[in-house]
């Protein structure tokens, strides 16, 4: 089957005219999933979601149905939707919120119905002004339509939704930091245990935190059944997956594809998808699952884009952001750019992340600027080791959350795959790549 022929579950409406409006949504069967849900018992829906085996789409890949089942039985419970998508080159939720906010609202309502939440918080990245505007407008319309609020569609089910813009911190996408932020505190990830907000979450109450894409699947699952969803994909990776293709391809963008049925080669080179590397350059490496994932080389092009397959080659599918890098890419600069991001977004709580990240950034910047020493290569690895002991994947950590351990992979992969390049920087006393992209210029990006 051609890779693009699978049904579009979450992106179907995105190209429709004014897809974000209630009229457009209703015209395309909007809120029918919710209406159907209200005729079912929460347990029936939960069973259906378990059948569908929807893996969390936020990066960790935890089964949504299993997460709901862990909810501590206590009142009140909260539902929080994580729309704080802030990682470089990750933009799938952005498109879903901006293009189909009602689908998100409907999915969240179905989830709230299942878990018995009377309050939903939609936590959306503050730097999505258009998404926030459309989501709030959609929410207002949904209230007016009777889909949200008191006695939804005349049923006994009542729920309120609040849209909460983030305040510019990447770390608030970490679910416990998100909860702290919602509580009005500084966005510090909470120490674990307790490991799951389902046990102790918002205001200490049991809380489900689901990703935007995860719940956006729910209306379709309700209308088409868990079986239909599970019929798509392969292994644990069921349904479709929205892949954000960025980097050095001809056609970057979001592609919803049947999960586990597509390889990196398909995604990058299929003319209907990535369309190949820009300028027909050579592919140098791929960041397969967001910038925190270990890089893979072109030899893995035929690996399937499923959670399991990517884990099998020592990396992760993450939230579905794929970044191919071509042969003009300076891997020192790439690693520096990634580390810089994570360090600057480090909440500052844990010493290894706060100080180790800053140190990595400074050493990489120095090597890139031609002032590196050969001893710096071992130093980099040891700093990485002190942030994430063993520098293995999945990472061990000395920190509260995984932001710190997100820094070593790009450094370690670079040193493993492109050690010569690091040495060239040191020995030539300059970056061997074209001078038109010196760090100074990048620093102003």
């Amino acid at each position: 089957m051609p890779v693009t022929d699978a049904p579009k579950i979450v992106t179907r409406r995105l190209r429709q005219d004014r897809s974000w409006t209630l009229e457009s949504y209703l015209a395309d069967g909007g809120y029918q999933g919710l209406r159907k849900a209200l005729t079912m018992t929460p347990q029936e829906i939960h069973d259906s979601v378990n059948t569908a085996n929807i893996l969390g789409r936020g990066g960790a890949g935890f089964e949504a149905g299993r997460k709901w089942g862990m909810l501590r039985q206590e009142s009140p419970v909260y539902l929080t939707i994580n729309g704080d998508e802030s990682e470089p080159a990750t933009f799938k939720d952005h498109a879903l919120i901006e293009g189909d906010p009602h689908q998100l609202i409907e999915g969240a309502l179905i989830c709230a119905y299942v878990i018995g939440a009377a309050q939903i918080f939609l936590y959306v990245r503050g730097e999505f002004p258009l998404a926030l505007e459309r989501l709030q407008a959609a929410l207002n319309d949904a209230y007016g339509y009777g889909a949200v609020g008191h006695r939804i569609f005349g049923s006994d089910f009542s729920v309120d939704i609040v849209v909460h813009p983030g305040a510019g911190a990447y770390i608030c996408g970490e679910e416990t930091a998100l909860l702290e932020s919602l509580e009005g505190k500084r966005g510090y990830p909470r120490i674990k245990p307790p490991f799951f907000p389902a046990v102790m979450g918002l205001y200490g109450a049991p809380t489900i935190v689901n990703n935007v894409e995860t719940v956006s699947n729910l209306p379709w699952v309700l209308l088409n059944g868990g079986d239909s969803f599970a019929a798509l994909g392969d292994g644990r990776s069921k349904g479709t997956k929205l892949l954000a293709l960025a980097g050095h391809v001809k056609r970057p963008g979001n592609y919803e594809l049947e999960w586990a049925k597509v390889t990196f080669r398909d995604l990058i080179f299929d003319p209907r998808l990535g369309g190949g590397i820009r300028d027909d350059n050579n592919l140098k490496a791929i960041i397969p699952g967001g910038v925190s994932s270990p890089w893979i080389g072109p030899e893995h092009l035929d690996v399937s884009l499923s959670n399991e397959a990517i884990a099998g080659i020592g990396s992760m599918a993450g939230s579905g952001s794929v970044i191919p890098m071509d042969h003009t890419t300076c891997t020192v600069r790439a690693a520096w750019r990634i580390v810089r991001f994570f360090h600057r977004e480090s909440c500052g709580q844990c010493t290894p992340c706060r100080e180790g990240g800053g140190w990595l950034e400074k050493v990489l910047e120095r090597i890139e600027a031609g002032r590196g020493r050969e001893a710096d290569l071992d130093l980099l690895m040891d700093i990485c080791d002190n942030i994430s002991p063993g520098v293995a994947w999945p990472p061990a950590q000395t920190t509260i959350c995984v932001l710190g351990p997100s820094m070593p992979p790009s450094v370690a992969a670079g040193l493993r795959m492109f050690k010569d390049e690091y040495l060239a920087h040191v020995r030539e006393g300059r970056c061997p790549f074209p001078p038109d992209r010196l760090p100074r210029r990048l620093a102003r990006v």
Partner: protein, 939 residues
């Protein structure tokens, strides 16, 4: 019917929050402490631990030190610094986890020194040093720095960091007392957590991210807290420094003794440190029943007052209008002569004594009765509660109050006057499930934590208390408090009686003077009815220094040493002292001043007393002093009242002499000497002895040990409380009297000095840097330079057991019982106007604050706070000057609007430079009323 009504009133329980509002992360839920013992293995050694204990605590108890920075035993763990990573064997193999927030479990195997753990610890330490400036030579923390010490013990041998360190402007003031050096900060969050979690003043927080993370104050809002010094104390690096200590000394030059702060009556344990015979610093010592290591800023920073410009150095005698320097001989002779004359004609009154250590209070009490022939002695200056009320009611300890089901405060603003007691009560409410009810005329620092606050009309406290304690149906308002509020308070009382507390009394009343403009008789009457609540105990909220020692040793009219009434103890004390006691109960301070103002007192002796400033009726105090025929002042500072004396005798101050102290609970602790006496000053007991000698009585005291031996012999309250016990190395927590033999035998200090929790505390281990030595496993206390050998002292006969007295030996007297039923207070109608409320604030015009140069400017400007409606009616804007008039005087101050105040109440802080409510208060009235008018307008 009334039962039913009561049951229907919902109790609004202030719930322990599910999550704290801590600015730094949300701590994990504390594991349930079941009290069970579990077996764990640490570094190959099997040890027992308590179920639910954090690994780091269990390791401490096992003598295994795990390095740490952010962990503090008195705060919740946050796991930020990651220094305490240890390897714990689990189902998926050994895993690194922080020891500070993971509880032990039965069978757990922990490795603190495995290769992986050591690598992680070295890594964290190297990271901490990445941006830490190595300016140790000019850092006040150098030499007592946990970062230095733990780098030596756990850090890598060399630094691999060659990049530019982070730079910031340094240091920056974050308050009047505290400086912040952000370059040195290691972001452990101890300060931020303390400010929020312990003190409830969350005015510092983290800003920025990554390695630009910094501790910061909010824009234009300094870290104004009564407890700011504690953040300096617990800072594990030199990032936070206190102005009074900066660059004053190097730690290794400091001499240290352990002592008790006497600034207020809480009795916080502290390490006092001096350099070159000058006190330079106080560090709170963790006394488990009292202060948990915390100090308030006044206690911590007021010590420079002892060397202040108004400190008395030499005796002074009056010559005409002047006080001129004199020798001790000449001054004592003049004083003795004048007092002897006064004894014959008019009589002597002794005012004050709360500054005195216990021994001195005893000697002055004995001197007054035996030598001066007077029972007119009063350590309270009309600003307290009748002694019989405090001494006669069942007493609670601070721990009992913290564990009670319900605490009722009838007290001033505890956050200002007994600050560390506020910390304990706040903790009890937030963490221990204690409910708090306030009966107060105006909001206090505890009001945000109270389940109910009954704002009563000043002068009507007794009526409110009666309504609370009654079961009669409430009809309408009582004392200005809505009936519904009284019902709610009653519901709390009923619930406390019903539910009780597993480890404390059901109800503890914290009893003090809610307002100095309301008579103490109101408090006595309120206490009397609240004493009827089932299982109730009382915790005193009298604030002044060693006031409880003064009362326990008889510096109160009608009360003899040992909480014995004058008549009950007459036979015993006359036998013991060998002299007749005054026949009649003497005057209290108000009566003494009143008599004196009419020229009827022969002499007034001011023993550390400044009635002009402290007596809540400045007008009467002035008339009293002016009317006295002869005034002797024994004091440390030249205060307003001392200037009226005929003879001024300079006394030694705290830390210049030894002694013992009695706190709000009746807990006796040891006061150590650290520096030599200032100039030619003498301890107070010596001054009394010398006066007695010159008036013909040899008290035969040559040292404190003599005095205490006599106290043990004559005071039934102190029987068995041996001096060696109080001054010994295990006596940090002191002894609460009365104490039976079993209690005394259990007097041990549970918490060792912990230089990682409170850096700068000198313990013998501090400089022995080896991983195992950083843990202080034994109790350390600097031995007294002249610690006593009991065999050196005269053996006194044991007091005969009560009721079995030998021939001619009277029976040991019984202590005071329940206070007498107070006479119905004068129902004289109060004048029209606003009811005045006045109480103290931490920084005020008092001697301690004003004599310490760096504190003098901290006192706020005086202002009267009234409900905005009052100002609106007058057409006066906030900040404009208004004139307050009472029957006693007038005062012109700016007005401030405070919507939390009842419309009929005006609040004016006591004794601020530039205007004291004392000018308005009428001590004879049940409550002082004032009129208010715009300045320059009207009549």
């Amino acid at each position: 019917m009334s039962e039913d009504t009561r049951n229907e009133v919902p109790v609004r329980l202030v719930r322990r929050p599910l999550v704290t509002e801590s600015a730094v992360g949300t701590p994990p839920p504390a594991p349930a402490a079941s009290g069970e013992t579990v077996n764990i293995t640490i570094d190959g050694r099997s040890v027992e631990a308590k179920a639910g204990q954090w690994i780091i605590d269990a390791a401490d108890e096992a003598g295994v030190y795990i390095p740490r920075f952010c962990y503090h035993p008195r705060m919740k763990p946050v796991g930020m610094c990651r220094m305490c990573l240890v390897e714990v064997e689990g189902p998926r193999g050994p895993t690194l986890m922080p020891a500070c927030y993971n509880p032990v479990a039965d069978g757990m195997t922990i490795h603190t020194k495995s290769d992986k753990a050591v690598k992680a610890q070295e890594g964290v330490l190297e990271f901490l040093l990445v941006n830490h400036p190595l300016d140790c030579p000019v850092c006040d923390k150098g030499g007592e720095c946990p970062l230095q010490d733990q780098t030596l013990a756990y850090g890598p041998g060399e630094s691999r960091f060659v990049e530019e360190k982070r730079h910031w402007e340094k240091p920056i003031p974050i308050s009047d007392l505290v400086y912040l050096d952000r370059e040195r900060c290691i972001q452990c969050g101890r300060c931020v957590r303390f400010a929020d979690e312990v003190a409830g003043d969350p005015f510092i927080d983290f800003a920025e991210r990554g390695d630009r993370t910094e501790v910061a104050i909010f824009a234009g809002q300094p870290y104004g807290s009564n407890f700011s010094g504690n953040v300096v104390q617990i800072c594990p690096v030199g990032a936070l420094t206190a102005k009074p200590y900066r660059f004053k000394a190097r730690p290794w030059d400091l001499q240290q003794v352990e002592s008790t702060c006497t600034t207020c009556a809480v009795g916080c344990r502290s390490a006092v440190q001096a350099s070159s015979n000058e006190v330079t610093r106080l560090i709170g010592v963790d006394s488990d029943p009292v202060n948990w290591g915390w100090l308030c800023d006044k206690g911590r920073f007021a010590f420079p007052a002892a060397a202040g410009s108004t400190r008395l150095s030499v005796p002074l005698v009056r010559e005409g209008n002047e006080l001129v320097e004199a020798t001790w001989g000449a001054a004592l002779a003049r004083a003795a002569e004048g007092l002897a004359r006064a004894r014959r004609s008019g009589g002597i009154g002794v005012i004050g004594g709360a500054r005195l250590p216990n021994e001195d209070a005893y000697v002055w009490s004995k001197t007054a009765r035996m030598v001066f022939g007077t029972d007119s002695v009063d350590a309270q200056l009309g600003d307290g509660v009748p002694a019989e009320t405090i001494l006669g009611l069942p007493r609670a300890t601070i721990d009992e109050a913290a564990r009670a089901a319900l605490v009722i405060t009838v007290a001033p603003d505890i956050k200002e006057e007994l600050p560390v007691l506020y910390l304990r009560l706040r903790h009890a409410v937030r963490e221990q499930g204690t409910q708090l009810v306030e009966l107060t005329p105006a909001p206090t620092g505890l009001t945000p934590y109270a389940a109910e606050t009954a704002f009563y009309r000043p002068g009507e406290l007794a009526a409110l208390a009666a309504a609370v304690a009654s079961s009669e149906p409430v009809t309408g308002d009582v004392a200005g408090v809505a009936g519904a509020t009284i019902e709610a308070v009653r519901a709390h009382v009923a619930r406390a009686a019903e539910v009780g507390s597993p480890s404390g009394p059901p109800v503890v009343v914290v009893l003090g003077r809610p307002s100095l403009a309301e008579s103490e008789a109101q408090v006595a009457a309120a206490a009397h009815v609240l004493a009827g609540l089932p299982g109730v105990k009382f915790l005193s909220a009298l604030r002044r220094g060693n006031i409880h020692g003064a009362l326990d040793f008889g510096l109160s009219p009608g009360v003899l040493p040992g909480r014995v009434g004058l008549d009950a103890g007459r036979e015993w004390f006359e036998y013991q002292w060998g002299a007749p006691l005054p026949a009649e109960r003497g005057f209290d301070t108000a009566a003494m001043l009143n008599e004196s103002s009419r020229g009827r007192m022969g002499a007034l002796v001011l023993v550390g007393a400044d009635p002009l400033t402290d007596f809540p009726d400045s007008n009467l105090a002035l008339r009293g002093l002016l009317g006295a025929r002869f005034v002797v002042a024994v004091d440390t500072h030249l205060n307003a009242s001392v200037r009226h004396a005929d003879v001024v005798l300079p006394a030694s101050a705290w830390a210049e002499r030894r002694g013992t102290f009695t706190n709000v609970e009746g807990r006796i602790t040891w006061l150590s000497q650290l520096v030599v006496e200032h100039s030619v000053s003498w301890p107070d007991w010596m001054i009394a002895s010398e006066l007695a000698e010159r008036m013909g009585v040899n008290l035969a005291f040559t040292c404190l040990e003599d005095i205490w031996a006599e106290i043990e012999r004559v005071s039934p309250l102190h029987h068995g409380v041996h001096y060696e016990l109080l001054s010994g190395i295990r006596a940090r927590d002191g002894v609460v009297v009365p104490a039976d033999a079993a209690t005394i035998a259990q007097t041990v200090t549970s918490r060792p000095l912990d230089p990682m929790a409170d850096p700068g505390i000198a313990s013998a281990e501090l400089h022995r840097i080896a991983p195992s030595a950083l843990l202080v496993t034994s109790v350390e206390m600097t031995p007294e330079p002249d610690s006593i050998d009991p065999s050196d002292h005269v053996a006194y006969p044991e007091p005969p057991p009560s009721g079995a007295s030998g021939e001619g030996v009277p029976a040991v007297p019984r202590p005071l019982g329940a206070p007498p039923v107070p006479a119905p207070s004068g129902a004289a109608p109060l004048a029209q106007g606003l009811r005045l409320v006045t109480r103290r604030t931490m920084w005020d015009g008092g001697t301690q604050v004003q004599a310490a140069a760096q504190l003098a400017g901290l006192a706020p400007d005086p202002a009267v706070r009234v409900n905005p409606a009052v100002l609106a009616e007058m057409g006066t804007a906030e900040g404009e000057m208004v004139v307050l008039r009472s029957s006693r005087g007038k005062l012109t101050v700016p007005a401030a609007a405070d919507a939390s105040l009842p419309a009929g109440t005006a609040v004016l802080t006591w004794n601020l430079p530039g205007g004291s409510a004392g000018d308005l208060v009428d001590s004879a009235a049940v409550a002082t009323t004032v009129t208010i008018e715009a300045h320059g307008g009207g009549s």
